[in-house]
């Protein structure tokens, strides 16, 4: 029988302003031991400030931060970063240029026992697969290798919490796709609790167990990647995460919405009365080509993506939506095609709730 576990990281109603500008407006979140969380949001949304508050580089102006159950930040306490037992991977890695790879990795290892230290270093060099580059200096490494050194250096002192600040933003797309998977495996193998900050949803999807979408200093939704994508709680989240269109509609019955795509049936995400005007999220993969359909749309733009084509379509209501279809169905620009929308869950929002994100 396990007792109810205390969360490893607790952020309770944290507030922070720089001058007149409120950057973090009462954020709360929790991470269980071994959980990987991610703060996802556009630049300037306050996510990096929140991370720096947790690390102890910034003070709070309200609320508290708890690591392993003990308070590290509040109006009354401010534990310095070196006493928080955290590790951090910086956006530009911040590798020490005057130290070799193994010296960098061993930097945070205390103790006088040289042999134990060497063993620990070797273990982490191996964990990130840099056995061949052990004695190299940071300027001799590629971007991906530097990233791995930064990760190993942060993990080596076995911190209770690992913070990652945009760890993949300095890498090209192919490399960062590969590394996100690798990093998740390494973190899971180490069983470490981690919080990552990124503006890139694919990195968030690939690494995190739970994602907090943050806009303008507020976490709008804290959820799994699946739910963030398929059941966004606000219009901002819906627009920021994934492709898709938001079109106007009217609820015409239980589980039925009338809109530019015709009459759609499914489970409404909000309880709505008949005649209620809503905004409806339509993902590109929900829209199919069907010559027999009564609903037609004009092809405005298309981008060929190999296995499929992403069409931008103009509906009869002059609204636009996206359709992701097999690339065998090649329609020319300006042509009119029949389409059908198959939406299982009708993700709707009350009209006029968008505040940011566009």
């Amino acid at each position: 029988m396990m007792l109810v576990d205390q969360p490893l990281l607790g952020v309770v109603n944290v507030q922070k302003s720089f001058g007149q500008q409120r950057v973090v407006k009462g954020v709360s979140l929790e991470l269980a031991k071994g959980e990987i969380g991610c703060l996802l949001g556009p630049s300037g949304c306050g996510k990096t400030t929140l991370l720096r508050i947790i690390a102890g580089f910034e003070s709070v102006q309200g609320g508290r931060v708890l690591i392993g159950g003990s308070e590290v930040s509040s109006l009354a306490t401010m534990v310095p970063p070196e006493n928080r037992n955290i590790g951090m991977v910086f956006q530009d890695y911040a590798l020490f240029p005057h130290l070799s790879v193994s010296e960098n990795i061993g930097f945070g290892l205390g103790g006088k026992d040289v042999r134990a230290k060497t063993q620990a270093i070797d273990k982490f060099v191996e964990l990130v697969g840099l056995e061949d580059a052990k004695n190299a200096y940071p300027h001799e490494l590629s971007g991906g290798q530097q990233q791995r050194v930064a990760l190993a250096r942060a993990l080596a002192p076995q911190p209770s919490l690992l913070l990652l600040d945009e760890p993949f933003s300095n890498l090209d797309v192919t490399l960062s796709e590969k590394l996100t998977v690798e990093v998740r495996d390494i973190l899971k193998e180490a069983g470490i609790t981690a919080l990552m900050v990124t503006h890139n949803q694919f990195e968030a999807f690939a690494v995190a167990d739970s994602i907090g979408v943050i806009f303008d200093g507020v976490i709008c939704q804290w959820d799994s990647a699946y739910n963030i994508y398929h059941s966004p709680k606000t219009l901002d989240v819906a627009r920021f995460v994934g492709d898709g269109a938001v079109i106007k509609g009217v609820v015409t019955g239980g589980g039925q919405v009338s809109c530019g795509l015709g009459e759609l049936r499914g489970d409404l995400s909000l309880p709505c009365e008949n005649g209620c005007e809503v905004e409806l999220l339509v993902r590109p993969e929900d829209v199919f080509h069907d010559d027999g359909s009564a609903v037609v749309a004009e092809v405005m733009h298309k981008s060929f993506r190999g296995s499929n084509i992403l069409y931008k379509l103009k509906l009869s209501t002059s609204e636009t939506c996206l359709a992701l279809v097999s690339s065998h169905q090649n329609h020319s620009l300006g042509s009119t095609i029949g389409i059908v929308a198959d939406v299982g869950n009708l993700v709707v929002f009350p009209v006029g709730t968008a505040s940011a994100g566009e």
């Binding site: 240029p97 930097f107 205390g110 250096r153």
Partner: protein
């Protein structure tokens, strides 16, 4: 920057670089050859009499000035670069101001204040019992303090730039790895800045070895004063050459040290696309202590000396001696302006030649041509006069053989030779600002001009020259000020009647006339502040 232009011959530009490099190399070769061909009698004499003392004095000076400037420069660089405290913005530029004070001006002000008849000891004598604690000021520690206070800005500016360039990421990374701020400074920030700090120290020590004015005011014998004395006191230019050869070896080892650490800088330059810097905000007594520390350094190194200079100058002007120095000012400015014009022309040619033909050998020759900044003025004077005497003699014999006329020396003791010496010594100053302006001009402009059929010289006059104006102006100002402040070359090579302000200061201070030296000193300091302000403006950008 290699510009391909098949129309022009690269050869002619090559020649310019070779000639200019040879000009610098001749004095160097002269000095080195006297190092390689030691004259036994002179060495035996030097070794028993002068040399042990000179080496010891130089060692004390080098170690002392290096430690003093390192502590001052690095600590001030850290506080103003990374921390935040009341007055930080002001101090970050104001602490560069002591660069405007030539060391010899600082030296005579210091002596004037500490002298038996000066204000400090006069004040002490008003307390009975204190008069026995007379300060013996002509001692190594005071020479070290004076040189250190005028030279620390080199270390300060370079270490500050390096700390700021590191940004806060390295520092913060070491905090997350368990280091407190003090440990992070010593284990991370300081080692990463080492190339910059060592380069700054190398410059400081080159200036220390080259210093002639300050040490002669303190009667503290070093190689520079010994070279001067053996030439003008004992009339042995051979002994002067032997002493010069030792000094030049010392100076070039520093140059080598600087080169090695400079090449390491780019590896340590880890910031990508502008580092973020979150300043360490100091509070309470720490903030007060740092503000006090900066104020004391600025006060002792700049405000008090400048104030004393002004007080003495006012005394002089009230005594009716205000106009005495007018003719010296005119001569100093004539010399400065001619040297600056010459150096700017040569810099443009050299920089353009390098641009036209950026081969390895040409870049090496450019480096060689600008190496004169490492040569102490006294050494340079010896290195130029020795081959010149030989040339002059040869020329006289030829003329005598051909036309049977005794001409006497043709070049020795002319302003032309002095300008040549300035060219060697200060070419680096002009060249670096002209060359960086030249490198800012895109190579495609040259190609565009070539497509329109312009020759190399046409391109230089209609394209580069207008674009170089700002860089040329900076070069002119820097060289003029450097020539104005220059002491040993002018002292040793000036033709009769060409006394400059610096020479006048030397004469007055060697007679202990501190107060009368104040007015020319003040002129020099005011002139010296111009390049400092140019530099500060660049720094603030």
């Amino acid at each position: 920057m290699n510009v391909i232009d098949p129309k022009s011959s690269k050869g002619s530009w090559h020649v310019i670089v070779w000639v200019l490099a040879a000009f610098v190399v001749i004095p160097l070769v002269t000095i080195f050859s006297s190092f390689l061909t030691p004259e036994k009698d002179i060495w035996a004499h030097l070794a028993t009499t002068l040399l042990p003392e000179l080496l010891l004095n130089t060692l004390i000076l080098v170690v002392g000035v290096a430690s003093f400037t390192a502590v001052l420069g690095v600590s001030l660089g850290w506080f103003t670069g990374i921390c935040d405290f009341p007055g930080r913005r002001f101090f970050s530029w104001a602490l560069a101001l002591p660069m405007a004070l030539p060391a010899y001006v600082m030296a005579f002000i210091f002596l004037g204040i500490m002298d038996f008849s000066g204000p400090l000891q006069g004040f002490m004598r008003t307390f009975p019992g204190l008069e026995t604690y007379m300060i013996e000021v002509r001692k190594a520690p005071f020479v070290i303090i004076v040189l250190g206070l005028t030279l620390y800005p080199y270390v300060y500016l370079l270490s500050r730039a390096s700390f700021m360039n590191q940004g806060s990421a390295m520092f913060e990374a070491s905090r997350t790895l368990g280091l407190n701020p003090t440990q992070a400074f010593f284990k991370v920030a300081l080692p990463i800045s080492r190339p910059w700090i060592v380069s700054g120290l190398a410059l400081v020590l080159m200036e220390t070895l080259a210093d002639f004015g300050a040490v002669s005011i303190f009667n503290y014998d070093t190689f520079t004063t010994a070279i001067y004395k053996s030439w003008f006191g004992f009339f042995s230019i051979a002994a002067a050459a032997q002493l010069s050869s030792i000094l030049v070896v010392l100076a070039f080892s520093l140059l080598l040290l600087e080169g090695v650490y400079k090449s390491r800088m780019r590896y340590y330059d880890s910031s990508r696309g502008g580092p973020t810097l979150v300043r360490l905000r100091l509070r309470g007594w720490r903030a007060a202590a740092v503000t006090a520390y900066c104020s004391i350094v600025l006060g002792v190194a700049f405000i008090v000396p400048l104030g004393q200079l002004i007080v003495w100058s006012v005394e002089m002007i009230q005594g009716g001696e205000g106009g005495t120095y007018f003719k010296y000012i005119v001569r100093t400015l004539i010399l400065g302006a001619s040297a600056a014009f010459l150096i700017c022309c040569v810099s443009v040619l050299l920089s353009y030649a390098k641009r036209r033909n950026g081969s390895k050998i040409n870049r090496f020759l450019c480096r060689l041509a600008t190496i004169g900044y490492a040569l102490p003025g006294t050494v340079l004077a010896v290195g130029i006069v020795l081959p010149l005497v030989w040339c002059d003699n040869l020329l006289q014999q030829i003329i005598f053989l051909v036309v049977h006329v005794e001409t006497g020396p043709l070049f020795q003791g002319t302003v032309l030779v002095m300008l040549g010496a300035y060219l060697v010594r200060f070419l680096a100053v002009g060249f670096s600002s002209v060359d960086s302006a030249m490198q800012n001009i895109k190579p495609s402009l040259d190609e565009a001009a070539a497509i329109f059929g312009k020759t190399g010289l046409q391109t230089l006059t209609i394209i580069h020259f207008p674009l170089l104006q700002k860089g040329l102006f900076t070069a002119l100002v820097l060289v003029v000020v450097d020539v104005i402040k220059e002491m040993p070359i002018t002292l040793m090579m000036r033709p009769f009647g060409w006394d400059t302000l610096a020479v006048k200061i030397y004469e007055l201070t060697s007679e202990g006339e501190w107060v009368r030296a104040a007015l020319p000193g003040l002129y020099l300091v005011l002139a010296g502040m111009i390049p400092v302000f140019i530099f500060i403006r660049k720094m603030e950008k």
